[in-house]
C-alpha cells in the first residue's frame, strides 16, 4: 500500500544527521500535542536542561494520511490542495508555540542558529520536517514534525533516530486514536510509550516543578539503577529527593527500612543529598500513588517483565502509571 511508511525508513541514517547523538549530551524528547500538559512537560525539560548540556527535541506526530477511510481517493490529494492554498500542516503551530515558550522563559535566545531539514516519507505528500536551533555553546533545540502510521510508533521511531535519554509525554493526549471505537481496545499512547520505549519515560500529569522527586525502590538491581540515574537528573535541576520503599507486610518493614537506608547511603556516596526517606506498608501500587501527590513526580524502575507477563499481571510500574494522580517517571 502506498499509504504505509516503508519498513526500511529508519534503516539508512543520514551521515552527520544532527539528530544523531554526537557526544555525551543529555537528550530529551518532549512530545508536543498542543495540550497544556505537553507544555508543562516542556517547561520541566527546560528546567532539567538549564543546568546541564542538554538537547531538547519537540516532536509532533501526525498520523499518516489514510486513503482507505476516504472511500478510495487518497488523502494526499486533499493535503496537496491545502498546501497549494498555503495552509500549514497541523502541528506546526503547536511546535512553534513550544518554541516561543522556551524563548519567553529565556532558555532559548534569539541569536541561535536556525536550520531546516526535510525527509521524504513514502506515501506522504509532505514527509518529515524539522527546524533545528543551535546556540553558540552547542545547545540544541529541535522542532520535529513527524509523519507515522500511528502516533506511538512515530514516537518510538523518533527514538531510533535520536536515542534520547528521556521521553516526556502527557498522560491524557490529544492524540487519542481518530477512531473512537478503537479507543476501547487500544491502550493510551502514553502507556504504550512507557511500555515500549527503551529509555526513561516521564508521563506528565499535572506536572509542576519544585516539589521534588519521590523515588521508589525495592532494593533490586533495576531499582538501584533507577535511583542513581534519577539522582543524577534531580541533582541537575536542584530538585529535592525523597526515597520510599513499600513493605508488603509488617514482618518485612525492617527489610524495607534497610532498603531505603542503603539507597540513601549509595546516593550520599555519590555526593547527592537526600531530603527524607520513609517506608509504607501495604499494597505497593496503592501506597505509591497515595504518597505521590506531595511531589512533582514519582520515579520508579521498570520492573522488567516480559510482554506476556505484562499482558496478564501488569507490572507495578505500569499500574502506577495508569492510576497515579500525578506524574510518573519510569527509569531505564
Amino acid at each position: 500500500m502506498n499509504d504505509d511508511v516503508t519498513e526500511t525508513e529508519p534503516a539508512e541514517p543520514e551521515i552527520n544527521d544532527p539528530e544523531k547523538p554526537s557526544n555525551e549530551r543529555f537528550r530529551i524528547m518532549v512530545c508536543i500535542d498542543g495540550s497544556e500538559e505537553s507544555y508543562r512537560g516542556l517547561k520541566y525539560a527546560a528546567k532539567i536542561g538549564q543546568a546541564q548540556e542538554t538537547d531538547i527535541v519537540l516532536c509532533y506526530v501526525r498520523p499518516i494520511d489514510q486513503g482507505l477511510n476516504t472511500d478510495g481517493m487518497n488523502m494526499s490529494i486533499a493535503r496537496g490542495n491545502m498546501l497549494e492554498w498555503g495552509i500549514e500542516l497541523p502541528g506546526i503551530k503547536y511546535l512553534k508555540q513550544g518554541r516561543d515558550l522556551l524563548l519567553a522563559s529565556g532558555y532559548m535566545g534569539d541569536d541561535w542558529d536556525e536550520e531546516a531539514f526535510h525527509t521524504d516519507i513514502a506515501g506522504s505528500s509532505t514527509g518529515d520536517n524539522k527546524i533545528e536551533y543551535t546556540s553558540a555553546s552547542g545547545k540544541k533545540i529541535v522542532l520535529k514534525l513527524k509523519v507515522a502510521r500511528d502516533v506511538a510508533s512515530g514516537i518510538l521511531d523518533q527514538w531510533e533516530l535520536g536515542h534520547y535519554d528521556l521521553i516526556i509525554i502527557g498522560a491524557s493526549s490529544n492524540w487519542a486514536s481518530s477512531n473512537t471505537f478503537k479507543n476501547f481496545f487500544d491502550p493510551a499512547i502514553a502507556e504504550k510509550i512507557a511500555i515500549h520505549a527503551p529509555c526513561s519515560v516521564l508521563v506528565a500529569r499535572e506536572l509542576e516543578t519544585g516539589h521534588g522527586h519521590l523515588i521508589c525502590t525495592d532494593g533490586s538491581e533495576a531499582a538501584n539503577f533507577a535511583v542513581k540515574k534519577d539522582a543524577y537528573i534531580a541533582s541537575h535541576c536542584q530538585c529535592p529527593i525523597t526515597l520510599m520503599s513499600v513493605a508488603l507486610d509488617v514482618e518485612s518493614e525492617e527489610a524495607a527500612r534497610k532498603t531505603v537506608a542503603d539507597a540513601k547511603a549509595m546516593l550520599n556516596d555519590m555526593g547527592v543529598e537526600v531530603k527524607e526517606t520513609f517506608i509504607r506498608t501495604g499494597d505497593p501500587v496503592t501506597e505509591i500513588i497515595e504518597s505521590g501527590p506531595d511531589y512533582s513526580l514519582i520515579v520508579m524502575a521498570d520492573s522488567g517483565k516480559t510482554g506476556l507477563e505484562r499482558f496478564f499481571g501488569g507490572s507495578v510500574a505500569l499500574k502506577v502509571i495508569q492510576n497515579a494522580y500525578n506524574s510518573v517517571m519510569i527509569v531505564r
Binding site: 555525551e24 472511500d71 478510495g72 486533499a78 497541523p90
Partner: protein
C-alpha cells in the same frame, strides 16, 4: 565528534538497543493480535458442528464474512490484505474454481467505483475551488450563518454528483482560509472553525446519498439489487434495475431537505464567536481576483463533467454506469486536463480491490444461502419485540447500519450488510428496494466518528477539530437524518411505487 565519545555513546546504547530487538517479536504479535484473534474465531466457527439449515459452503462464507468484519473494524493488517485473503479463502476454503472467483471480482459496480475515483482526482486537480469559493461568498454575503448554509448547500450539490471525497478535498482549503483570515489564533475561532468545517463535511455526507456517484456504497447497493433480484426473463423484476435517475428520484429530495437542518444543528451546537466574516471575505476576494478570469481549460473540464453527468442520466441503462465513468476519466486524460501519474497516485487502488472482493463475497453469501440464514435468525430475534415488519424493521435496519458504519468505512459496511438486509426484506415480505435504500442511506449517517465518512476523515486532517467534536454534534445529526429517512420511506417512496 571524537572517536572515544562515539564509542562511549555506543556502549551506553548497546543495552537498550538489544532490549528493543528482543521486544521486536513481542511487538509484532501485540500489534497483530486482532489478526490472530480473527483467525482463531474463524477456526472455531469452521470446527463447530453445522447449525440447522446451513450447508458447509454457507458456513465457510459466513465464517469468512465474520473474520473479514473483525479485520475491517480492528485493522491489524492493511485493509487491502483482507481483499486478498477473501480471494484466497474463496478458492482454498470453499473450493470454488479460481476462474469463477476471478470473474466474480469485476462488475459494472466496480468499474463505476474505479471510474468515479479517477474522475474525482481529475476534478480536484482542476483547481476550481477558488472560483467556487468566490461564487459562494458572492451569493451568501458575509453573515456567518448564511455562509455556513451556503457552504453546506454548495458542497452538497457538488458532492452529490462528483462524490463527497472530491468536494471535501476542494472545499476544505476554502473553509480553513476563511477561518485563518478571521483570526490567527485557533483558540479564538474554535467554534467558528467547527461550524464552517462541519458545514463542509456534513454537507458532503448528506449529499453522498443523493445520486449513485455520491459514494461507492450506492454503486454497491445497485450491484446487489441487480445481482440478487434481476432476472432478464421476468419483466416483474425489471424494477430492480435502478439507474442513475431513479436513484436520484428516491434520494435527492432527502438530501435537499436535510441541508437547512445541518446549518441549524451546527449553529446551535457550536455558537460561533464571529457573526460576521466580512474581514475574511474581503481578503478572500482579493485572493481570487488575482487568478483572473476563467481559462478555457476550466470550461472544458466543466463541459466534460457535464457530459458525463448527462451520460449517467440518459445512457447508463444501456451502457452501464461504470462504462460512462470510465469514458469520462478517459476524456479527461485525452484532453490533457490531468496526468496519469496524478491519477495513479490519487486513487487508492487498494480500495477498488477491497470493494471488488467484498462484493464478490456478498454475492456468495446470497448464493450459498448464508445471507438468508442470518436474515431469518435476525428476524426471529426481532419479532418478539415487534420489529419484524414495517417501520419497526426499517428502524432496526437503519440502526444496525448506522452502528456498523460508524466502526468501518461506509462502503465496506454496505458490502457486508447488503446481502443480509436484502434477504431480510425478502423473508419479512418487505420491498428490497426500500430496505436497500435504507441501508445505503443509513450508511451515510456515520457522523459520530472521524473514519465514518470520507468527508469527515478529510476535514479532520485540517487539525482544527477534536474527535470529541464529532460525538457532540454527530448524534444530533444522526437522529435528524434517521427521522427524515424514515419519513421518506413511509410517505414519499410508496408514491414512487417501491
Amino acid at each position: 565528534m571524537s572517536p572515544s565519545s562515539v564509542r562511549k555513546r555506543a556502549a551506553k546504547l548497546a543495552k537498550p538497543i538489544a532490549a528493543l530487538k528482543q521486544r521486536g517479536s513481542y511487538i509484532y504479535f501485540w500489534e497483530k493480535r486482532w489478526f490472530f484473534i480473527a483467525l482463531a474465531v474463524g477456526f472455531g466457527m469452521l470446527s463447530m458442528p453445522l447449525p440447522d439449515g446451513l450447508s458447509q459452503q454457507a458456513m465457510s462464507i459466513l465464517t469468512m464474512s465474520v473474520v473479514a468484519t473483525i479485520l475491517f473494524v480492528t485493522e491489524p493488517v492493511p485493509l487491502p490484505t483482507v481483499a486478498l485473503l477473501i480471494i484466497i479463502g474463496q478458492v482454498m476454503i470453499m473450493g470454488i474454481d479460481s476462474k469463477i472467483v476471478a470473474r466474480s471480482l469485476m462488475s459494472d459496480s466496480v468499474l463505476f467505483i474505479m471510474g468515479s475515483l479517477m474522475l474525482a482526482v481529475a476534478v480536484v486537480k482542476q483547481k476550481l475551488d477558488t472560483r467556487i469559493a468566490w461564487l459562494l461568498v458572492k451569493m451568501t454575503g458575509t453573515k456567518t450563518s448564511r455562509i455556513a448554509f451556503g457552504i453546506s448547500l454548495v458542497s452538497g450539490v457538488l458532492a452529490s454528483f462528483v462524490g463527497e471525497h472530491t468536494v471535501a478535498a476542494m472545499m476544505l482549503p476554502v473553509g480553513i482560509t476563511l477561518i485563518q483570515l478571521t483570526s490567527d489564533d485557533p483558540r479564538k475561532v474554535r467554534n467558528l472553525a467547527a461550524v464552517l468545517l462541519f458545514s463542509i463535511s456534513y454537507g458532503c455526507s448528506i449529499a453522498g446519498i443523493g445520486t449513485p456517484s455520491g459514494g461507492a456504497r450506492n454503486a454497491i447497493m445497485i450491484g446487489y439489487w441487480k445481482e440478487f433480484f434481476y432476472d432478464p426473463s421476468n419483466p416483474d423484476t425489471f424494477k430492480y434495475l435502478v439507474d442513475y435517475l431513479k436513484w436520484m428520484m428516491y434520494a435527492y429530495p432527502m438530501f435537499l431537505l436535510q441541508v437547512p437542518f445541518v446549518t441549524l444543528i451546527l449553529l446551535i451546537t457550536f455558537r460561533p464567536e464571529y457573526r460576521d466574516l466580512s474581514r475574511a471575505v474581503v481578503k478572500l476576494r482579493a485572493k481570487v481576483e488575482k487568478l483572473g478570469p476563467m481559462k478555457s481549460a476550466d470550461w472544458v473540464a466543466i463541459f466534460i463533467f457535464f457530459l458525463v453527468l448527462l451520460g449517467w442520466i440518459f445512457l447508463s441503462a444501456g451502457y452501464g454506469m461504470g462504462t460512462i465513468a470510465i469514458l469520462g476519466a478517459a476524456a479527461f486524460l485525452v484532453a490533457g486536463l490531468v496526468d496519469w501519474p496524478d491519477v495513479n497516485s490519487g486513487v487508492n487502488w487498494g480500495v477498488v480491490l477491497l470493494y471488488a472482493a467484498a462484493i464478490s463475497m456478498g454475492i456468495q453469501m446470497k448464493d450459498t444461502g448464508a445471507a438468508a440464514w442470518v436474515a431469518e435468525n435476525f428476524l426471529a430475534m426481532l419479532s418478539p419485540v415487534g420489529l419484524d415488519k414495517g417501520i419497526g424493521l426499517w428502524a432496526a435496519v437503519s440502526v444496525l447500519t448506522t452502528g456498523v458504519t460508524n466502526t468501518m468505512s461506509n462502503g465496506a459496511a454496505v458490502a457486508v450488510l447488503g446481502p443480509i438486509v436484502l434477504n431480510l426484506a425478502t423473508a419479512a415480505g418487505e420491498s428490497p428496494i426500500v430496505i436497500g435504500f435504507i441501508t445505503a442511506v443509513s450508511s451515510a449517517f456515520a457522523y459520530l466518528t472521524v473514519v465514518g465518512t470520507p468527508a469527515c476523515t478529510i476535514v479532520y486532517a485540517s487539525g482544527y477539530l477534536k474527535t470529541t467534536d464529532f460525538l457532540t454534534v454527530g448524534w444530533k445529526m444522526a437522529v435528524m437524518s434517521t427521522i427524515i429517512m424514515l419519513a421518506a420511506a413511509a410517505v414519499y417512496w410508496p408514491m414512487l411505487g417501491a
